[in-house]
Amino acid sequence: MVKRDPARLTIALPKGALYEESARVLRAAGIDVPDDPGRKLTVDTSDGSRVLFLRPTDVPAYVEFGAADCGIVGADVLWETERSVCELADLGFGACRLVVAARRKDRYHEGAQLPTFLRIATKFEKSAEAFFAERDLPVQIVKLHGSVELSPLVGLADMIVDLVATGTTLREHDLVVVSEIGASTARFVVNPVRFRAKYAAITALLARLREPLGV
């Protein structure tokens, strides 16, 4: 592998829903990230940075273990992975909410009596577990990998824990929000040791990312 200037940053970016905005804020900060990574895994940008294109849920691990110095990732992913990374800035975009939802006709959102033992279907196992444990509600979490909104309709689960951006998906399946677990946006995250080792480069990038946010 070619030896790179140690002051240069390796930045982890999430492919998918957050990519376009992530690329836009980095370009505004002077790092020429491509519009579309295509099938590429990494790109070396003209300012000397290296950008990694990752599955969103993998970004925290790359940053925690120092394979990337810093990265952009949704807060919802951070809640779920419990990786120790520093959250230096709320970038504001990619807003969505992690919610508990149920069928409208079950009327849980209007305070209807809950079953004594709740079955919850979700992709967000840890966040769901923590939410119900805090309320001392006995639940069984069923981990799913997609189409979570189907599960209450076919009797797999009483409720779901899922991300909601516009609410269209919930409405289409006649589901309603029972409770909000958290509001998520994209975060700029950094490896705690690299923050120190590459302080100048990281704080310079942080300042450029924060400039348009006015914070």
């Binding site: 140690p6 925690e64 273990f65 120092g66 807060a75 120790s84 520093c86 959250e87 230096l88 800035a89 709320d90 975060r187 950094v190 490896n191 705690p192 040791v193 690299r194 923050f195 120190r196 080792a197 590459k198 302080y199 704080t203 942080l206 914070v215």
Partner: protein, 392 residues
């Protein structure tokens, strides 16, 4: 048969390297006149709990002996050494300089550099509250890492009273202060900002959040001085300035930064604190500081400062650097066949001797010596002794 999670075996080459690192450290400690001590691997739980506070106490390996007394494996050495000083060494002349190399145990999620059984090397300087003592703790750590060939390790320093002095400017209860410190220490700027919202003047909150991102040389002290609301905090800022000046005289100025978010996760620190980092390893290689409130918990009214180093993290850093500095296998001096007496004489002369069990023939023995780079072969057979010099 499997090992319990978070533990490991040490094979000969690995252990040789570890021992070499440990003896290098002990040699540094000895040059600074620190004397090595040992304490039991397990202690009464109440003794450890007195020193450590809830966070570490919750990660102890805990069990009961046959009388029902709660026993725990020690999770670090500072508390056991404090107990030792407060009991059997309470009449010793101060300051006391003590060092250790010891296994410690914590119930962690095992990962590289964070095992459930780890080796800590460190020292404690007891009964000295001056700048000299703080400076000595930092300089011993720098020299220790230099001696290990990690001369580019960065050191960050801070003072525990500064963050308290800064947070004193906001309306926070004790729990909120604890939460804010956790967020500052993890540099979770996003949540810190929202936790502090509404607790004071927005400009003051902004300044505190910025302070958590601030790291640098002497120039950053002015910011802390401006934001600090307590005399103890201001004295802390001056202590940092003085330590930096002493470090500069020794030529360490480029390696030391003030980092106001550096708050170590053990609750006993009261003053100067520091950590050392290498970019190859995701955790601090070493760290420590002043803990004036710990010894009084054991009825010994004296201040102290100390630090410890994680030996396994040092080994990771050396491995990542492909360092061959430590742990080369010792060369065998002589291969002896057929005489216990000759072998004994060779050992008595301080040589490393390999003994041939099978009375093999000359050719075979010389082949082995060439292959293993053994410079001499002595063969005793039928009353005659033949010696060969071997080259390869």
């Amino acid at each position: 048969m499997k090992l319990p999670p978070g533990t490991r075996d040490w094979l000969p080459a690995e252990l040789r390297r570890k021992r070499a690192v440990e003896s290098e450290l002990l040699a540094v400690f000895e040059r600074w006149n620190y004397a090595e001590v040992q304490t039991p691997c397990f202690e009464r739980f109440d003794a450890l709990e007195a020193g450590l506070g809830d966070d570490v106490a919750s990660r102890l390996f805990l069990f009961a002996d046959k009388t029902g007394t709660q026993i725990a494996l020690r999770p670090e050495m500072t508390t056991p050494v404090a107990r030792l000083v407060a009991t059997r060494m309470r009449d010793a002349t101060l300051p006391l300089r003590l060092s250790y190399v010891a296994a410690a145990y914590r119930y962690e999620d095992p990962q590289e550099g964070r095992m459930r059984e780890m080796t800590q090397a460190g020292l404690e300087l007891i009964g000295a509250e001056s700048l000299d003592a703080d400076a000595e703790s930092l300089f011993t750590a720098i020299e220790a890492l230099d001696a290990l060939g990690l001369g580019d390790t960065l050191f960050d320093i801070n003072h525990a009273a500064i963050v308290d002095g800064v947070l004193a400017g906001l309306e926070l209860d004790e729990e909120a202060i604890g939460h804010a410190k956790t967020l500052i220490s993890g540099r979770n700027i996003v949540e810190l900002r929202s936790a502090l919202r509404g607790t004071g003047d927005p400009a003051a909150i902004d300044a505190i959040v910025e302070l958590a991102l601030t790291r640098g040389r002497e120039d950053v002290l002015a910011t802390a001085r401006r934001l600090c609301h307590t005399d103890a905090g201001l004295a802390g800022v001056e202590r940092l300035r003085d330590v930096l000046a002493r470090a500069r005289e020794l030529g360490h100025g480029e390696r030391i930064n003030v980092d106001f978010s550096l708050l170590r996760d053990i609750s006993y620190y009261t003053g100067f604190i520091f950590e050392g980092f290498a970019s190859e390893v995701g955790f601090a290689l070493c760290g420590g500081g002043r803990y004036d409130s710990l010894l009084p918990r054991f009825g010994f009214h004296s201040g102290a400062v100390g630090w410890s180093l994680f030996v396994e993290r040092i080994l990771i850093a050396l491995e990542r650097r492909h360092s061959t500095r430590f742990g080369a296998a010792p060369a065998i001096d002589v291969l002896v066949s057929g005489s216990d007496l000759i072998a004994a004489r060779e050992r008595a002369a301080g040589r490393i001797v390999r003994i041939d069990f099978d009375r093999r023939g000359e050719e075979e023995l010389l082949d082995e010596a060439r292959a293993q780079h053994i410079p001499r072969v002595v063969i005793a057979q039928d009353g005659s002794v033949r010696e060969f010099a071997v080259t390869w």
